[in-house]
Amino acid sequence: MAAEVKTAVLSTVQQASAPAIPVAQRLPQTKGWKELVRDIWDDNPTFRMILAMCPTMGATNMAINGMAQGLATLIATVASSVTVAALRTIIPAEVRLPAYMIIIAFWVTIVDIFLRAYLPPLSAALGPYVPLIITNCFVLGRAEAFASQNSPGLSALDALGVGLGFTMSLTLLGIVRELLGFGSLFGIQLFSGWTPWVIMIIPAGAFLVVGLYVGIVKHFSPGGQIGGGA
């Protein structure tokens, strides 16, 4: 299963660098691939579904923070989905939601402790937004809608797609906000004598950039589902 996931990542990276033919048509048409592609783009959690907005805004003032938050969420989502899928025949239907919450909280705790131990500056920069992955609606959403009815391998691919889509969105937002707010990219100063756009660093900038991104994505590919929930 690990090899399957690895090829999935490699293939996605290769496809992304050759945009001439739509990504969805170039990938092998198996169920796992379709899930992966659908989750990365068509059901992109940030720009399509308008889910998990707190970390999307709170952790994207710098590109590196956005990417770190996305990867932390990716790991927690994949681990939770695989656990839920592996236990799907054991968990009684009546108590499944509390059980999923505890599984997710367990994995998020592990990610949080790992970050605090090995990457303390990053952990301090992200603050409470890593623990808040627990209430990311799409983590529970993938567990409930997909992992509870599918095998662990397929669930891992599904969660990986959502996680990659989320990481991509957060990194993109971080790049724009850091470039305009600090004149730098991943901490490297690009423009000397850049007048910082203070609005990009403060909360208001986060709302404006996400709002414009949502509008742009919807304008260029009007299909798909535009949501917005709890």
């Binding site: 308008i50 998990a52 907005m53 509390p98 505890i102 409470p128 949502v214 509008g215 917005g228 709890a230």
Partner: protein, 198 residues
């Protein structure tokens, strides 16, 4: 006096939604109509005022003495889910009118990051005392409710405005929230809740 300042600070300077981005998903999803926005706002005030002190007591009298601080996230989220369930059952039995107006919003509250986020900011990041936590819970809830009610009122006015197709719905809502956040910047610096922490 401190308590009053914390309530005011939680509403204006440290607004839980417009400065710390907590609870944005329901803020975008439920702010289309004034009635449901105020229902959701009331539910958040109610639950945040209850869960913050409850989790404060659990942290200071159970988790810290026993030395299992690493379990805090799991315990907080279970406490929140449990309290929401209790509140729902209590309301259904004793306050049916309130239950009917809040009913559908209560279960959604468990996964509202404003609740867990408020708990984490007050207890873990700022390390507030007990009464300060109660004040922050209430003020934070009122601030969130204020923001969503303002937003719902603005969106009702926008219903017939000529908005570009792509921005209709969530896009314009986020941009309005950005403009609201900009106006709330005017309050910043007046009170800083961080100063009340230990």
């Amino acid at each position: 006096m401190d308590i009053f300042l914390i309530v005011l600070g939680a509403i204006l300077t440290n607004n839980i939604l417009l400065t710390t981005f907590l609870g944005i998903c329901p803020f975008i999803g439920v702010s289309g109509e004034y009635a449901s926005a105020s229902g959701m706002g009331m539910a958040v005030i109610f639950v945040l005022t209850m869960t913050l002190p409850a989790n404060w007591l659990i942290k200071h009298f159970v988790l810290d003495p026993v030395g299992v601080g690493y379990l805090s996230l799991i315990v907080y989220i279970v406490t929140i889910a449990f309290l929401v369930q209790i509140v729902e059952m209590f309301m259904k039995r004793f306050l049916p009118a309130l239950y009917n107006s809040l009913g559908i919003f209560l279960p959604l509250i468990t996964v509202n990051c404003a609740i867990l986020g408020g708990v984490l900011f007050a207890i873990a990041t700022w390390n507030l005392g007990f009464l300060e936590s109660v004040a922050y819970g209430f003020g934070g809830g009122v601030g969130w409710a204020l923001a969503i009610i303002l937003m719902a009122a603005i969106r009702e006015r926008l219903r017939f405005a000529p908005i570009p197709e792509g921005l209709k719905g969530p896009g314009i809502a986020l941009i309005i929230a950005g403009l609201m956040a900009m106006s709330f910047v005017g309050f910043s610096g007046m009170i800083n809740i961080r100063d009340f922490g230990g």
